[in-house]
Amino acid sequence: MDAENVQPALVPIDFSNELLSSSELFQRRSQSHKIPVRGQKDFLPNDSVQQKACLEKILEEHWMLVTEERVERVGNLVNAEWIPEEKLVKLLTPAGKFWQTMGFSDQGKQCLFPEEALYLMECGNLQVFYQDLPLSIQEGYESFLSDETVTYLEYQVFSHLKRLGYVLNRLDARSPSLYKQQLNQPPFSNRSSKHRKRKWSQSPSFRLCNKKSTSSPEVSSGDQKGEIMTSVFLEAPGNLQTKQAFQDETLNSDPESVKAPWRNWWTNTSNEPQPDSLNPSELYWDFSCIFFPDLGSNSANCACLPPPDPSLLPGDLHVPECKLAHWHRNINLKKEHLSKQQQQRDQNRHRCNINDDQEVSQCRNWVEYLELMEKRRNQQQSERLTNFDKHEVMPLAQPRKCSSHRELLEQVSIIQSYDLLVGKPRLSDSDQWGITFNVYQPDIEFKKSYPGKPYTRLCVSSFDGPVPNLHVLKQLSFQSGDVPVTFAVVDHGDISFYCFKEFKLPTDVY
């Protein structure tokens, strides 16, 4: 105690005015929560008495508001402890209402991330202790905010949006991962939800699923790409539901289907470098090398399809042979039959009538016609050859070689389109540019266990820092999937939000 009494003498700073006395504490329990309104600003100072009085009044209000300390009843406070080693705040008393949107449980203990704890301290909901002494807000800022947790800038954005009512959580390993969140996103969850459905009602969706995964390439190669991509996300270990579902499928499959492996589809790809489908960096599948079974024509006769090459499937996933009869009934084969005559008629219409050709009609016999044709061919060829010799110029596109505008445009394009994400190490700049928070809108019923698709994802930067380049933009938006990325730019407490939207110029002109 003696030592304690000596210390204040050593340090002559006296800030006791910021520590409230008991009577003040007691009075503050019922303080007003109104904020005085600031009036219209003036344009020029003119030393008038009125202006001075106005300024004085507003400054007085300003200092009154800034001076005010947080006073809370013990019963309304949640107590917690700061654990510097883990960079976490662990609750000592039961959590309040904030638990709906913040915190997580770790080995039966309720924990808060430092930024969440600091925000709650600022709101007057939480009292954080360290070595049995409560931390001031200043100490909270100084101890909680760091490069390992959340930086000062990131906290400013966090608390700004929190005060507006948004729900924010960190985008990192401890909170539900990006992968897990993607599972919960509507566009990605198609498959998993289907599997879930199958568990309850097996036969109808069984057909549905098979049809989708075996649809012929010319119909939906684009779709297939999406499917494969999702399966890469989905088939990570631990996705019990999917596994379970496929096991159900194994039990249900017909034993006789085993004897018909006449074409080993998908095995063509076994030489491809991609079988390790768990690695998210291998999302690029060359679909010209992956063959999907053609089920529309002759093969319709066979009873079933052999299973896909196991090297292409992740983990312990077993996909049995697939019986075709089930879904064949769903294909409208009739339409094909009907259209045959019409098809012929269509083809005839497009073929030009040879008799319309003047020169041809002048030919008196077959020999003359052949000669004419030969002559024309030679003429054409020599024309072309002379052109090449003279100008060393190659035509960008040969007539009749392109069947659509798109193909023509692709051939004509001299500058190769370049994918920013291919060929570069993925997310190499992530140490400087990274997504920090998921943001959920305030009005939505939020569940921590099932956060769903975020409203947006936040990347925090400073006005003093550089502007993100196109590569960074691409990487971040790729990392974020179909959730938009918003850049929060902080300038001395003033936060602006920017977001870049992709725009694709239409290329097909008909």
Binding site: L59, G75, C123, D132, D491, H492
Partner: protein, 317 residues
């Protein structure tokens, strides 16, 4: 936190007036002779104490921006509370005029002995506060009941039974009154309560101040100093594409007149940039100022440290 403020709080509790005196004293005398402490959060300079914030605003014209939640109403962004984030230039000016020292925060104290003493003090203080609040609550309740009795007496309509009941409650209050611990009010301190650093620690920690002295920050600082010396108030103007917003008076009461853009004399600026900022300035009804500090050698005759050029749209009819 430091709970070494026994003496002064005891004095405070006697009457609210004595507290006022302490406040004036600390504003007027103590802080005057005391250097302000700039607490560094990362590379950002922050001020935490009201007395210091006030002193900096009144004496040096440091405006800064409040970035914390307001104690009175934390869940809004219209009015914010402590801490006050100040510009690097403001921090440098405070430091150069000897009004402040910057401190990198100290790791939370691990000193076991002083810590356990502090814990004892904290609990003792808490206990005393409880006892005092308990009696205050009792007084409060008594006053309410007394007022009810007085009202009933003035009513004249008899109803002696009711009055008697209230009187009995008042008498038994002393025994039956209980003040639950959960109803006790505690303070959640904003600034670190008192400084437990000894002077040596001050000196040691002050060395941590980040000194970014590149050309750009040098230019900015010269412009800041010059405009400030001319009586203008300055805040950050990132949103307006400039370096500072320049106010003719206290920013609480006046609109900014200029957007200052700090530009070294020899730096070339693309015309499109000039057009862009001039256009932006005219859209927000402010004049754009291009501020270029002069070389000290040239300065002798001219006398102006910084050359200002304003940009304005002019229409031709």
């Amino acid at each position: 936190m430091d709970w070494n403020t026994e003496g002064s709080t005891e004095a405070d509790e006697k009457s609210p007036e004595s507290r006022e005196v302490v406040m004036v004293k600390s504003d007027g005398e103590k802080v005057e002779n005391q250097t302000v402490t700039i607490s560094m959060c990362g590379s950002t300079p922050l001020l935490w104490r009201v007395a210091e914030i006030k002193k900096c605003r009144e004496e040096v014209g440091v405006i800064g921006s409040l970035v914390g939640s307001l104690a009175r109403q934390p869940r809004q962004n219209v009015r914010l509370g402590r801490p006050l984030e100040i510009l690097q230039e403001e921090a440098r000016l405070l430091e150069e005029t000897g009004k402040a020292t910057a401190l990198k925060h100290k790791e939370l104290s691990e000193h076991k002995e002083s810590r356990s003493d502090a814990v004892k003090l904290y609990h003792a203080r808490l206990e005393r506060s409880y006892v005092e609040q308990c009696s205050l609550a009792l007084e409060d309740k008594k006053a309410v009941l007394q007022r009810v009795i007085n009202e009933k007496q003035n009513d004249h309509k008899g109803n002696a039974g009711a009055e008697q009941a209230v009187r009995e409650r008042l008498e038994s209050l002393e025994k039956s009154f209980s003040f639950p611990r959960s109803a006790m009010a505690v303070q959640l301190c904003t600034a670190r309560a008192g400084f437990s650093h000894c002077p040596e620690e001050h000196a040691f920690l002050a060395a941590d101040w980040p000194r970014l002295r590149d050309k750009r920050s040098e230019t900015r600082f010269q412009v800041y100093k010059d405009l400030r010396s001319k009586g203008f108030y300055l805040t950050a103007a990132g949103k307006f594409g400039g370096d500072y917003l320049v106010y003719p008076g206290d920013p609480l009461r006046f609109h900014a007149h200029f957007i200052a853009l700090c530009l070294p004399m020899d730096e070339k600026l693309p015309v499109c940039d000039v057009l862009a900022i001039a256009r932006l300035g005219s859209n927000v009804k402010k004049t754009v100022l291009l501020c270029s500090p002069q070389d000290i050698s040239e300065e002798e005759e001219v006398g102006e440290k910084v050359v200002y050029s304003s940009l304005q749209w002019s229409g031709m009819v």
